[in-house]
Amino acid sequence: METEKRSIQREALAKLIEQWCREGKRVLAPRKSGDKVDFDRVTSLSEVSFDHVQTVQSPKSAVFPRVEELFSFRSADGQVEVRDRELDILPETVVFGLRPCDAAAFAALEAIFNWDAPDRLFTARRARTTLVAVACSRADEYCFCTSVGGGPGAVAGSDILLTDLGQGEFLAEIASAKGREMLQAADSLFGPALDADKESRLAKPAAVFAADAVAAVLAGLFADTAFWEEQSRRCVGCGACAYVCPTCACFDIQDEGGASGKRLRCWDSCGFGLFTLHTSGHNPRPLQSQRWRQRLMHKFSYMPERQGVLGCVGCGRCSRGCPVDMNILEHLRAIAEARP
């Protein structure tokens, strides 16, 4: 679909959010709390943060919550009844104010959940989610969208992309059928296209490496144990990187509530030592260096090869959220420059 250009004033944007809320939609947007900005449910534009570079967590929980019921069951006298999750009650959701990199990340999630057997819950949530992104006017040292095929004003992935043109005016790029539907439902709030220089409003994060170069080097780097040990030495093996990542989607399945309870899907991480532990005690990835390698290999080698999409959008959250400063950009640059 060709991108349609319109404009919207800040006051109209406020009305738009109110209209979504009136329609019963759940609106998730970046909101400041203490010294952190994170996605939260909002009901008005005044609650939304615009001046941050990036939120702590990604918006992935809109389609992949950190805990989600797959189904429930009731047991009596050795007999069990399984009840499907009702999909109709899943909320229509607008993720507002996510960054273009975050919007691009949904394609990676789609690839993980639906590359083979369709994932019913993910698909239902995704179908009910509309992405209204805001282009980046600032980037920080952790951002690297331009190294992984994105950009601070990239439209791909967004249903609508807004760019702040200053003076309370936004360029609105309507980039999908869902975006058009949203526009049509509130057409009077949008103004005509503006003759504005979008590019001059955007941050300019430098392209540091080429993703295909990283993939090519990684292919020959697997067996270089010393390299991975050196890279991962200070990694403490927590799951912060995976949990704030917009594309990490490893999960666990857990039952709760006894014989009449629920089967739940919860976030998990390949960085945890027990993630791959066999019942026998054998562990295919017993070392942190192997788990760090897996994280990078999966995102930059396995996913592109297998699912045709990079597992990284360059949002930099893993680096910002890492308790020990495992700066992924630095490590990727080192890989791009490594000669296997």
Partner: protein, 279 residues
């Protein structure tokens, strides 16, 4: 939206429980919904996710042969939370089952060849499915040799079936236990599987080998087979990576670009040589 949720298990009734070894048992499961049972087709080598509602799921191969219709069987050792709960269930109680998942042993391609099965300990179940499948189609294959070892005599599973195989003149069965694991009346071999295999020295000519066992057994068995002249493409194994979803999403069994749950669990040694050693 009528497609069946991939995470929703079939409800199975436990029809029969067989004690195989200390803490090892086999459950025979039948579909509670007959329509689901009729629509269910699997092939040897495939696996499933078995669940005790309220405790969780765990992954085992389907240990019965597709030639035996109307039920599936799984054999497991009581080890963790779910297997302990499974072991506590009684006949007629309900178990969840998702599957069949994964690829298969290409037994059609093996027609007219000799078959050598090598298994260790609790890894006989995946092999049992393919052995019975082959024996039920016995005239399609030439010599069938089974080498099976366990730590002790008590740890040998499927004792009744081992006896049956031993009594057949169209099967050569060699059983072995680790040194010290024998009983006074033990008639089989004493020694680790790779050493016993080395001594047995089966001919590799026109022979397919299937190896299932703990990682350490597999590690030492492959070189023996290579020495005997088996081509890497003629050696099959089934990987037992930890899994949760079974359908290529949860990330646990990811090994290189492969998902063991989708691209495996059956791999040839030739394929394993191309994969990262993370299984």
């Amino acid at each position: 939206m009528n497609a069946r949720d991939v995470f929703k298990p079939f409800l199975m009734r436990i029809e029969q429980i067989t004690e195989e070894a200390p803490d090892v048992r086999t459950l025979r499961l039948v579909f509670q919904n007959e329509d689901e049972g009729r629509g269910f087709i699997f092939r040897t080598g495939q696996f499933g996710e078995y669940s005790v509602f309220g405790e969780g799921e765990c992954t085992f191969c389907i240990a019965s042969s597709p030639t035996r219709q109307g039920y599936i069987e799984c054999t497991f050792r009581k080890a963790g939370r779910v297997t302990s709960a499974l072991a506590a269930l009684e006949t007629n109680e309900t178990v969840g089952f998702r599957g069949p998942y994964g690829n298969v042993f290409p037994i059609d391609q093996w027609q007219g060849r000799n078959l050598l099965f090598i298994a260790g300990g609790i890894a006989l179940p995946p092999m049992r499915s393919v052995i019975w499948n082959v024996l039920d189609l016995r005239d399609r294959y030439r010599d069938v040799t089974i080498v099976y070892g366990a730590r002790t005599v008590a740890d040998l599973v499927y004792k009744r079936e081992l006896q049956e195989w031993a009594g057949r003149d169209d099967v050569k069965l060699v059983t072995t236990v680790d040194p010290g694991g024998e009983t006074p009346d033990w008639q089989g071999e004493i020694g680790f599987v790779p050493a016993v295999l080395d001594k047995l020295a089966p001919a590799s000519h026109d022979t397919v080998a299937v190896v299932c066992g703990p990682p350490v057994m597999i590690k030492f068995t492959f070189p023996v087979l290579a020495r005997l002249g088996f081509a890497p493409g003629d050696i099959y194994t089934t990987l037992e990576n930890r899994m949760k979803c079974g359908v290529g999403k949860c990330g646990r069994c990811n090994t290189g670009k492969h998902f063991v749950c989708k691209d495996g669990p059956v791999f040839t040694f030739a394929q394993l040589q191309e994969m990262p050693q993370e299984y």
